[in-house]
């Protein structure tokens, strides 16, 4: 196997006395969708925040290998460089859009650094230099592309806060994609979506992964999404990894079932069947 895109080594994050994440190691391969699952409070979002620079991990190493072989230690980069230099983009569990700005503006803000360089740190831009105008046109084209792809093009000139919830989730993904990331980290992208929207989201994520050279790391509670689209699943419980492997293997892992249902070990077998039934039903719903 080639070098993984993202390699998390012995990641530990403590808040005071509480260990939110303890000695976690996992890998995400390029070109794959990796899912991070676990019960509420398992530390999934904390892992995301460490990877995307919002928390400095107490211990551990997060290595990102770029296509040219260059390795970056994400935990050492300043927060904003993780997106710009590391090319890691993310979305948020509680959607964070620029609500008072239009959809198009949201997507242009995402291309800030590219445009900033083109505008000669604003100096060329103030005088309306043609090189900047060209760059802005390209940026608008990229934004249009992603608005089309997420089905939001008709509302390009509306305020982001005016969108319904499901559209806001997609807009956040479109905004993250406008930074042309190598790794896209999605924090519960399917939360609050209806089954139809959830299905559209699956297609969008698969397309992002296949067509845009962007790998995905995703936190999700909706097992239909996880089981259908992910290539690799990492399961957390109380900040520790309890399983790691392809979806089918993880689904049948008794430790995972126990973590989700909190049952005694001897009851695992009994509930396993029910879980399988629920998963099958979920799959059926999604179809």
């Amino acid at each position: 196997m080639s070098t993984p895109l993202l390699k998390v080594d012995h990641l530990t994050m403590r808040f005071g006395g509480l260990t939110a994440v303890g000695d976690l190691s996992f890998e995400a391969q390029a070109g794959q969708i990796t899912a991070l699952i676990g019960p509420n409070g398992a530390g999934k979002t904390t892992v995301f925040n460490c990877i995307t620079g919002f928390y400095k991990p107490t211990e551990g190493m997060i290595t990102l290998t770029q296509p040219d072989g260059k390795k970056l230690l994400l935990e050492r980069l300043p927060g904003h460089d993780i997106n710009w230099k590391g090319r890691v983009a993310r979305t948020f569990q509680n959607i964070r859009l620029f609500g008072g700005m239009t959809l198009l503006e949201n997507l242009l803000v995402a291309q800030h650094n590219v445009l900033m360089n083109a505008s000669g740190l604003s100096i060329l831009g103030i005088f309306g230099a043609p090189s900047y105008k060209r760059a802005e046109k390209e940026a608008i084209e990229l934004a249009e592309y992603w608005l089309e792809k997420t089905g939001l093009i008709a509302r390009a000139d509306d305020a982001a806060a005016d969108l319904p919830y499901g559209d806001q989730r997609r807009l956040e993904i479109a905004r993250a994609m406008c930074t042309k990331p190598l790794l896209l980290c999605l924090d519960e992208p399917a939360a609050g979506l209806n089954p139809r929207e959830s299905l559209l989201l699956n297609d969008l994520l698969i397309s992002i992964c296949r067509d845009h050279n962007t790998s995905i790391l995703l936190i999700e509670h909706d097992m239909s999404v996880v089981m259908q689209i992910s290539d690799h699943v990492v399961v957390l419980d109380y900040g520790r990894k309890i399983a790691d492997g392809p979806p089918e293997a993880v689904k049948n892992d008794p430790k995972v079932i126990a973590a989700y249902l909190g049952v005694e070990d001897d009851e695992v077998e009994k509930t396993e069947a029910e879980i399988a039934a629920i998963a099958a039903q979920a799959k059926g719903d999604a179809r």
Partner: protein
């Protein structure tokens, strides 16, 4: 040493006054997240109310000093509380829950209004009162310098400690205090559970103003003079104190007040009196660079 102890006493006295005003800022901020910029002027209005009642009782009715002062304290707290109640009702309540800067601008307008109102109705000149409690207790003599603590300094510190104890009891142990703390956490939830949010907020303003009125009485006692423009500087200092201690934290406000008082007096004694305010503001800036939420403020955890 002797200069240090003397300045320590002076600093703590001044700090007590700042601390009492700072509590008003910090309480209002804690409960509705607003900087009540007019609070310094409410303090000044309190000082004027105290001055007028004091003269009324002593010159018209010939009351003795101590009973007059006690009654002045009570009346001052009541009427200043009424003023702040009315201000909240008229200028802040309609803006609650709207834009964050709207109440701030309204408060700045109210501050301008109050100081100019007093200028118009009471005149622009300094208003002196006859000196009171001029005696002092000598503590010790060193290098030919006698360190002394004035009666009024003792009075100020004792009143401050007693009031803070009462105040602490109210906030921690009474239903009103519980309602205040609940509103601080979540106004909507508190309202759903039957807390009268409007009343609680009004009472918070009244309590803050009452403490400012006490500070006003002390200010007159200590300096013997008051002017319509005396609200701004103590107000800004007390706001600084509240932020230094960590805005929203009651012990922080008192601690910040004492610190600002001490910084000022110590700086005046050892360096230069001209730059005492510069020193206080600079230390505020330096402290905030290292402790962005003040000394006792809860560190702000960034929710992502």
């Amino acid at each position: 040493m002797e200069v240090f102890v003397q300045q320590l006493i002076n600093g703590l006295t001044l700090g007590s006054i700042y601390g009492l005003i700072a509590i008003g800022y910090t309480m209002v901020f804690g409960i509705i997240g607003m900087v009540n910029f007019a609070h310094g002027d409410v303090f000044m209005v309190g000082a004027f109310i105290a001055l007028i009642f004091f003269l009324f009782l002593t010159t018209w009715f010939g009351w003795a000093l101590i009973p007059a002062l006690i009654l002045v304290l009570i009346l001052g707290m009541f009427f200043t509380g009424l003023w702040n109640w009315a201000i909240e009702r008229v200028a802040y309540r309609p803006l609650r829950g709207s834009f964050r800067l709207a109440p701030l601008i309204s408060a700045i307008g109210m501050s301008i209004f109050l100081s100019n109102l007093i200028q118009v109705v009471q005149g622009p000149r300094n208003k002196p009162v006859p000196p009171m409690f001029t005696q002092s207790v000598p503590l010790f003599t060193e290098n030919g310098y006698t360190v002394a603590i004035g009666y009024k300094q003792i009075a100020i510190m004792v009143i401050t400690v007693v009031l803070l104890a009462v105040f602490w009891y109210v906030v921690q142990k009474t239903p009103l205090g519980r309602a205040q703390r609940a509103c601080e956490q979540d106004q909507k939830m508190a309202a759903l559970l039957g807390v009268d949010v409007d009343k609680t907020i009004s009472l918070t303003f009244v309590m803050g103003a009452a403490l400012a009125a006490v500070a006003g009485v002390m200010y007159i006692m200590y300096y013997g003079v008051v002017n319509f423009s005396d609200g701004f500087v103590p107000g800004v200092k007390a706001f600084t104190a509240a932020v230094l201690g960590g805005i929203g934290s009651l012990p922080g406000a008192v601690l910040g007040g004492l610190l600002i008082g001490l910084i000022e007096t110590m700086w005046s004694a050892y360096f230069s009196i001209d730059y005492k305010d510069v020193a206080a503001f600079s230390i505020l800036a330096i402290v905030l660079v290292f402790l962005p939420t003040g000394i006792l403020g809860r560190p702000e955890v960034e929710k992502v």
